[in-house]
């Protein structure tokens, strides 16, 4: 956005002179939006075959991490009523 929304997008105002916090907030926003990865990857050309492999890998990774997180959350359940009550 060179000349169009010039100081509206990707802008963080500095509060109370705390430049470090503002910069880290900006970095957090950019990495959360995926801009940092895009810029880093765009430094060298990524051939279409490599891109397809990477996208497939990331999709599998996402599914695996979600399932593992679900499993761990299930196993780490704490406050349940005692299933062996009375035995």
């Amino acid at each position: 956005m060179a000349n169009h929304l010039r100081f509206v997008g990707r802008t963080v105002m500095v509060q109370n002179g705390n430049v470090e916090a503002a910069y880290s907030a900006l970095n957090r926003i950019l990495s959360h939006d995926g801009l940092v990865d895009v810029v880093r990857r765009g430094r060298y050309y990524e051939k279409p075959c490599r891109r397809r492999q990477r996208l497939a890998y990331e999709a599998c990774r996402r599914v695996y991490n979600a399932e593992m997180g679900r499993k761990i959350g299930f196993l780490a359940r704490g406050a349940r009523q005692d299933p062996w009550l009375g035995c």
Binding site: V12, Y44, E46
Partner: protein, 184 residues
């Protein structure tokens, strides 16, 4: 998006007809920005009606720095490449104040692509701009290099007060093909 824009435009016209023609007459230069601010305000009002999480960007129309509004404060462009860092302080109407880079500060070759070099270059630029009467500055950073954070820190250490940080890294919508991947 166009619906929100239409709503915001109607509100702007309503405000103008209410008698506040000074806001419209301030200049076509700031017109689109005010429209975008109103659009964002409308969207924010729709999203968070009860909570007061309005970011500072919406409130900065009423903030003043040395009596100047946000759009009149000089800009410090920082171009942080992987091998060097350039800093240029410019006024809001593109009159130059100071221009330094790691090379002008005496560093050579690989040492230019370091954070310390960027910090010294920023401190020199800040001192030069201070000499021309610049106090507050809004920073625009371009590129992901080693001098990105260090240059902002150098500007504050050199005496300029940073009021906002913008990221202006160019992101092509699949334009020019970059160079081939390195095989190491």
């Amino acid at each position: 998006m166009s619906a929100a824009l239409a709503v915001a435009w109607q509100r702007l016209l309503g405000v103008a007809r209410g008698g506040c023609t000074a806001a419209l007459g301030r200049g076509l230069r700031t017109g689109p920005q005010r429209l975008q601010d109103l659009t964002q305000a409308a969207k924010q009002a729709e999203d968070q009606s009860a909570t007061d999480l309005s970011p500072l960007i919406l409130q900065r129309n009423s903030m003043r720095w040395d009596g100047k509004i946000y759009e009149e404060i000089p800009i410090a462009h920082i171009k942080a490449t992987y091998n060097n860092t350039h800093i240029q302080v410019v006024s809001f109407d593109n009159r130059p104040f100071a221009r330094t880079s790691c090379g002008t500060e005496g560093f050579q070759n690989a040492k230019k692509g370091t954070a310390i070099a960027a910090q010294t270059a920023a401190m020199a630029a800040a001192v030069k701009a201070r000499g021309k009467g610049v106090l507050h500055v809004r920073v625009m950073v371009k590129g992901l290099g080693p001098g990105r954070k260090a240059a902002i820190k150098g500007l504050t250490m050199g005496g300029l007060e940073v009021i906002s940080i913008t990221d202006n890294t160019p992101v092509p919508h699949n334009g020019c093909r970059p160079r081939k991947a390195r095989r190491m």
